[in-house]
């Protein structure tokens, strides 16, 4: 090859290759696995398997935190809390992948004892070896410097921070302020202090926390969703049965896809929009690869 041709080729490569490389990567996009079925545990398992299985996230001997939504004193059918069958399936997958210990907890809004009992999660996990369903203990909250846009610092739960793997298992439902509460908002369950005070800047504050603390895996329970009067509901007329479970490593993508289940666009949800703008994940549905499992 002539020297001149070689240099030309090199020059052309330097112009086109990076672009095509970027496109190649972009085409990959984040994956959201969606499974459907009335056996909710099996649906959850299939969604996780479609991402490559739990062993992709959990290695033998690790401590895992599974964080469902146990926020309210409501029975599972009201879709205010995460489906216990989904939680149990996630926990079992963690154990199967070799987790040393799985901790399940949430900072509740109603009395913790009632929430844990009514949600059905406590009884679903009762008696399982190496699984702890714990009430939060105040002293374990640690002040963390977030240096975010609105939250300079914030108290987060120590056991969540120190876990090797953190799996976010929210329920998809309506919310009076943020319109929907999905994966991103579920992080409030490990926040200490006066949580209500972040409502005045909810989307920015949640982006601050989620930017600092990111779950390795988000499993969204959409087996039944609360379409109005959230986040508590309490009326079966507001509940819609979808029998779906979503899973993704990209919590923004998971939230974005889940938004469509409510007949809304991802950009309608300020929390999702802000997180996307901050580069926490993908929100454009055409750049998200949806895998039916």
């Amino acid at each position: 090859m002539e020297r001149r041709r070689f240099i030309k080729l090199l020059g052309l490569c330097s112009i086109f290759l990076p672009g095509s490389l970027r496109q190649l990567l972009a085409a990959q996009g984040p994956v959201v696995a969606v499974s459907q079925g009335s056996d909710h545990a099996a649906a959850a398992r299939r969604a996780i398997a479609a991402l490559g299985g739990m062993q992709r996230f959990v290695k033998a001997g690790q401590t895992v935190v599974v964080k469902p939504n146990i926020g309210w004193d409501r029975a599972p059918q009201y879709a205010a809390t995460t489906n216990p069958a989904v939680v149990k399936a996630v926990v079992e997958e963690c154990l199967k992948a070799g987790a040393k210990k799985v901790k399940v907890f949430d900072r509740t809004c109603n009395d913790a004892r009632r929430c844990y009992a009514s949600s059905g999660i406590e009884s679903a996990l009762k008696g399982m070896k190496n699984v702890e369903v714990k009430h939060l203990e105040e002293e374990r909250f640690k002040k963390v410097a977030l240096n975010g846009r609105v939250l300079k610092e914030c108290e987060l739960y120590g056991e969540a921070l120190s876990a090797d793997v953190y799996i976010n298992v929210p329920v998809a439902k309506h919310h009076g302020l943020s319109r929907l509460t999905l994966g991103m908002k579920n992080v409030m369950g490990i926040m200490g202090g006066n949580r209500g005070s972040i409502h005045k800047n909810l989307d920015q504050a949640l982006a601050d926390v989620n930017g600092y603390f990111r779950p390795q895996l988000t499993v969204i329970d959409a087996t039944r969703i609360l379409t109005a009067h959230g986040p508590q509901g309490g009326n079966l007329a507001d509940v819609e049965v979808l029998n779906q479970v979503l899973a993704s490593t990209d919590m923004v993508a998971a939230d974005a896809y889940a938004t469509t289940l409510f007949g809304l666009k991802p950009s309608d949800i300020a929390v999702t929009r802000t997180a996307y703008q901050r580069g926490l994940g993908e929100m454009n549905l055409d750049r998200i690869r949806v895998v039916k499992a």
């Binding site: 004193d73 209500g196 029998n243």
Partner: protein, 528 residues
């Protein structure tokens, strides 16, 4: 060492039972609580008599109390010597306390001067006997003072251990969990009348400085009531007097043998005299009615008691109107007057309250309502699905309602303070109160309003408003309001506590989309 005698065994058994029932008065994962937790109060004759006098009617819940009274006619004050847990505590402590000899003022008729005004006051509608009821004294000392103190100490120690050891503390978890699950209060609550409850208890204990069972024989209104009854009963000690050759009974008797003749209205049937009689001469036997007892009390005492009760009932009534606005009673209480007549101030409801919402009233409702439960929403709220206070109330002052009925009972009504509420005063979003409102149709809703920000910019803010007809006054909104100190939404008492009508439970608006599938139970999930 001597073996424990039957009375002592019984005493220890009932004290233990009392403590176990006390610890069981707590939410333990089930919506219903063991019915026996208020057993001591329901079998308490003073509670029965004073409450029934106050409401001037029969209260079926308190039948065991009447039964106990009837039993005392035949068996004497066996309650005091065999059952009363406060008496047992005194018996256990008294030997370690040196004696100074009886107090003169308390001898004689003092106890009647205490009991009669209390009973007559009940007749005139003021039921305050519970303040001096021995079971209530002990239970309140435990609920308001000892138990929170124990919880505070243990939990504080556990917390500071975390500061020292960090996560290595978890190795000790199993031991602490045992303590936490069975012994400690779930929540650390400080009570406004803790000092008074402790004071009264220690005062009763302090009286042991003067003579054995001083409180029981000289003051206790329950003991006095039982004494009044057992005076007429057929049970007698034989011999009735001290035997001239021995007189050992004097040494052994804790209550009534400082005189020649055994006083059946002070005898607590502890059987010390019979068990320790050197010649085994003493026994208790039924011998028909006792004609030889003198008059129960002089006419002076009776009339004085009547007058005292009347004066008490009239002068304890003062109430400050301002304080009344926040007199929130437990769910199901509709009439303040009827509630005050029935409430025995035992503290059971405050002990069991899931979210530490109930506190003893100091003087908010006048001296008449001392120790009655008041809901303080800023400290705790009434949990929507919880009915425990009604379950443990021994007199039905707080009715035992089914969950669905309780949810509709009106405690008060919430009111916004727009000078504090963030969306109004600061023009920022908040809606924490709406989020927490447990009513499925939401008694707190918000409307999207366009407002001008403080820099002149156009803003969209969600401003909350109240649907008064749906509000049951549970107080969670006031409890969770993120403002510091004073809440921007407050629950005020209302006279008309008509429950929220059932029709209000119907969905106010159709769901945004029809529910998918025909499955009646969405959780069962049958559609695809």
């Amino acid at each position: 060492m001597r073996l424990p005698r039957p009375p002592r065994i019984s005493q220890l058994f009932f004290l233990l039972l009392f403590l176990v029932l006390f610890l069981l008065t707590e939410y333990r994962g089930s919506d219903r609580i063991v019915a026996a937790v208020n057993g001591f109060f329901r079998a308490d004759p003073l509670t029965a008599v004073s409450s029934m006098l106050a409401v001037k009617g029969y209260l079926p819940l308190l039948f065991p109390g009447l039964l106990m009274l009837a039993l005392s006619l035949f068996l004497g004050r066996f309650f005091c010597g065999w059952i009363c847990p406060l008496g047992t505590v005194l018996d256990l402590a008294t030997d370690r306390i040196g004696k100074l000899g009886p107090i003169r003022v308390l001898q004689g008729r003092a106890k009647y001067w205490l009991l009669l005004p209390l009973l007559f006051a009940s007749l005139f509608g003021l039921n305050v006997a519970g303040i001096l009821d021995p079971i209530a004294i002990l239970l309140r000392a435990l609920t308001f003072f000892f138990h929170p103190l124990l919880g505070e100490t243990a939990r504080g120690g556990w917390k500071s251990l975390y500061g020292l050891l960090g996560d290595r503390r978890d190795l000790l978890d199993p031991g602490y969990h045992l303590l936490r699950d069975y012994l400690l209060p779930f929540r650390e609550t400080l009570y406004p009348l803790a000092f008074l409850s402790a004071l009264l208890f220690f005062l009763v204990l302090f009286l042991e400085r003067y003579e054995k069972r001083c409180w029981c024989r000289r003051l206790c209104p329950l003991g006095t009531l039982l004494g009044l009854v057992s005076r007429f009963g057929p049970l007698r000690r034989i011999p009735a007097k001290l035997c001239p050759d021995c007189r050992a009974c004097r040494e052994h008797c804790p209550t009534s043998f400082d005189r020649e003749l055994l006083q059946m209205d002070e005898c607590i049937l502890c059987l010390q005299c019979a068990l320790n009689c050197p010649s085994q001469r003493v026994r208790f036997d039924w011998r028909g009615m006792r004609p030889e007892t003198g008059p129960v009390m002089e006419r002076r005492v009776l009339l004085g008691g009547l007058f005292g009760g009347f004066v008490l009932a009239r002068t304890f009534r003062f109430r400050e109107p301002e304080a009344q606005a926040r007199m929130l009673r437990p769910p199901g209480v509709r009439e303040e007057g009827e509630f005050l007549e029935k409430c025995v101030r035992c503290g059971e409801c405050m002990k069991v309250c899931l979210r530490s919402a109930l506190y003893p009233a100091l003087l908010q409702a006048g001296p008449e309502a001392l120790y009655t439960p008041v809901l303080v929403p800023r400290l705790g709220y009434c949990e929507y699905n919880c009915t425990l206070c009604g379950q443990v109330c021994p007199t039905g002052a707080i009715p035992d309602l089914a969950v669905e009925a309780k949810k509709r009972e009106v405690i008060g009504k919430a009111v916004f303070d727009k000078n504090h509420c963030l969306p109004f005063a600061k023009r920022v979003d908040c809606i924490v109160c709406e989020e927490h409102c447990p009513i499925p149709q939401k008694a707190i809703r918000s409307e999207l309003v366009e407002v001008t920000g403080f820099q002149g910019e156009k803003l969209q803010v969600k401003q909350p408003y109240l649907v008064t007809e749906l509000c049951n006054g549970c107080g969670i909104c006031e409890n969770v309001c993120p403002l510091e100190g004073k809440s921007a939404i407050e629950v005020f008492a209302v006279k008309d506590r008509t429950p929220i009508p059932l029709s209000a439970d119907a969905p106010s608006a159709p769901p945004s989309r029809p529910p998918g599938g025909a499955s009646p139970d969405p959780y069962a999930g049958s559609n695809g």
